[in-house]
């Protein structure tokens, strides 16, 4: 069978299976992003706090999750949560069997890794914002939370954007790891197609090209956002 027939959408081709894989990969990355960003921002808040104990707590978090291999974090979450939940549930129902959804496990693991890197990006963005901005916010009678939301955050996001863009590209690549816990992402679907059709090079090559296309689209999207955000910057 030739390559086009193998890649067609239909009962004989693998096009629809791989398209499903693309959908899974993209939705996993998109689902992880807000979770990772929010967690990363909170950790960055802790790490830039004047309170030493809070800084130490944030530092421990990044040290652990930046030091572990992503694959190991994924397995720790996937098996660890499963075993932990099972123990808790079995206190009530003695022979319950808990299966953790691999999508959720992937989301948690990738989100935790993403947040530990994002916290560093936010931290350096915090350093780029002058103290006067906080003082100006307080002088206007804004509370701490309002100053953060209305004055600091809009500027912070602009400074952090290039770094976060890089992290998004890394996140999309890291989603390939969830194929190891059985989630039907691009790589797993391509692997199944490769094994069944015995056209290994074709399907893994297609997978690489899809990831490359995702990277190109992401870079285009990121630079569009940067242009838009840059436009709002007042002239100096």
């Amino acid at each position: 069978m030739d390559a086009l027939a193998l890649l067609s959408f239909g009962p004989t081709g693998w096009g629809d299976e791989i398209a499903w894989g693309v959908l899974v990969t993209v939705s996993l990355a998109l689902a992880t992003l807000p979770f990772g960003l929010a967690l990363g921002f909170l950790v960055a808040l802790a790490k830039q706090s004047p309170e030493p104990s809070l800084r130490a707590a944030g530092q421990i978090y990044t040290t652990i999750f930046r030091g572990l291999p992503e694959l190991l974090t994924l397995f720790l979450v996937y098996f660890g949560v499963q075993i932990g939940l099972q123990r808790i549930v079995r206190l009530v129902i003695p022979d319950a069997a808990i299966e953790v959804n691999s999508f959720v496990a992937g989301m948690i693991a990738l989100g935790v890794v993403f947040s530990s890197y994002a916290s560093e990006v936010f931290l350096s963005a915090f350093k780029a914002i002058p103290r006067g901005q906080y003082e100006g916010g307080h002088a206007l009678g804004l509370t701490d939370a309002q100053t953060m939301r209305l004055v600091i955050l809009p500027q912070l996001l602009r400074v952090a954007l290039p770094g976060l863009g890089n992290l998004w590209l890394i996140l999309v690549k890291d989603t390939a790891l969830v194929s190891a816990i059985g989630l039907s992402d691009i790589l797993r679907q391509a692997g199944i197609a490769a094994r069944v059709s015995r056209e290994q090079f074709l399907f893994f090559g297609v997978a690489i090209l899809i990831y490359l296309a995702l990277a190109v689209i992401s870079s285009a999207g990121i630079s569009a956002i940067e242009r838009r955000v840059g436009r709002a910057r007042p002239a100096r």
């Binding site: 802790a46 706090s49 004047p50 309170e51 030493p52 104990s53 809070l54 800084r55 130490a56 707590a57 421990i60 040290t63 652990i64 930046r66 030091g67 572990l68 291999p69 992503e70 694959l71 190991l72 397995f75 720790l76 098996f79 660890g80 075993i83 590209l169 690549k173 890291d174 989603t175 390939a176 790891l177 194929s179 190891a180 691009i186 790589l187 692997g191 490769a194 056209e199 290994q200 090079f201 074709l202 893994f204 090559g205 997978a207 690489i208 990831y211 490359l212 990277a215 190109v216």
Partner: protein, 272 residues
């Protein structure tokens, strides 16, 4: 200072228990509890039989990881030189080729690259056998080494390029004015300055490779991660993963501190 002068200073007011301070101590308490829980779990599930069976395997896995990373980073460093040269070249075609190489290897997952090389090259078995390369591409170990070298070469080429470009043009011109040949200028003037800039990115790349190398477990290389998966699949004991986590953390952290130490030493002349 006399006792009188000491007495004049009022005692520091007690630090108030602000919300941040409470949150900080609560979080630290949670970390301490987690650490203690981990230690208790490892003590409670201590199994001498398991340990004597798997500890030597973990060490050999660790050694495989270190070898894999060391060899591929060294090969990648060699490969990165022509790529960085192409990226910096004024020749349009050459610089485009360098850019394309870097983009492809940095834009796609290392796992997909490894699969393409390990499984994908199997499609060309007759051709590879004809040129005598099949024995290389048949082995998971050498395929992983090949994929990792190509991948890290792309990252290292960017580090090298960035570092060379960070050296001001005046340094090249100064070297030229002293009558140094371009290669001499690169070796004696530019690279020593560029490598100071490149040290931290190189350290990060090394750490990324150590973490990234865990994926070879998926193509059945028994590195630290591979040994861990094997131990877990035989014993169903979760502590196998925790031991691996501790080993990886120790490896990465000691490397990070080593890079910090080297950086402090070689930038002593820059401290003001």
């Amino acid at each position: 200072m006399t006792a009188e002068a000491l007495a004049q200073r009022p005692p520091a007011p007690p630090r108030p228990w602000t919300r941040a301070r409470i949150a900080g101590w609560v979080l630290l308490g949670l970390w301490a509890a987690a650490g203690l829980g981990l230690a208790l779990f490892l003590v409670a599930s201590w199994n001498p039989e398991l340990f004597s069976q798997y500890a030597p395997r973990y060490l050999s896995g660790l050694w495989v990881t270190i070898q894999l990373v060391a060899i591929s980073v060294a090969v990648g460093a060699l490969l990165s030189i022509p790529i960085a040269y192409a990226r910096l070249s004024r020749n349009r075609v050459l610089s485009w080729l360098g850019y394309a190489y870097v983009y492809v290897f940095r834009g796609t997952p290392l796992l997909a690259q490894t699969f393409l090389i390990y499984y994908g090259f199997g499609s060309f078995r007759p051709q590879l056998e004809a040129v005598g390369l099949w024995s290389f591409f048949r082995e998971a170990w050498s395929c992983a080494l090949f994929a990792f070298s190509l991948n890290t070469a792309a990252y290292q080429a960017e580090i090298l390029r960035g570092a060379i470009q960070s050296v001001p043009r005046g340094q090249w011109e100064g070297a030229a004015a002293l009558g140094l040949h371009r290669l001499q200028a690169l070796r004696l003037v530019v690279l020593p300055q560029a490598l100071v800039v490149a040290l931290r990115p190189y350290g990060n790349e090394l750490i990324l490779m150590i973490k990234g190398s865990a994926i070879v477990a998926i193509i059945t290389v028994y590195d630290l991660m591979g040994e861990t998966r094997r131990a877990y699949s035989r014993s169903f004991d979760f502590q196998t993963y925790l031991w691996a986590a501790l080993l990886y953390l120790a490896l990465v952290e000691s490397l990070r501190h080593a890079v910090d130490w080297i950086e402090r030493r070689i930038t002593r002349h820059l401290v003001r």
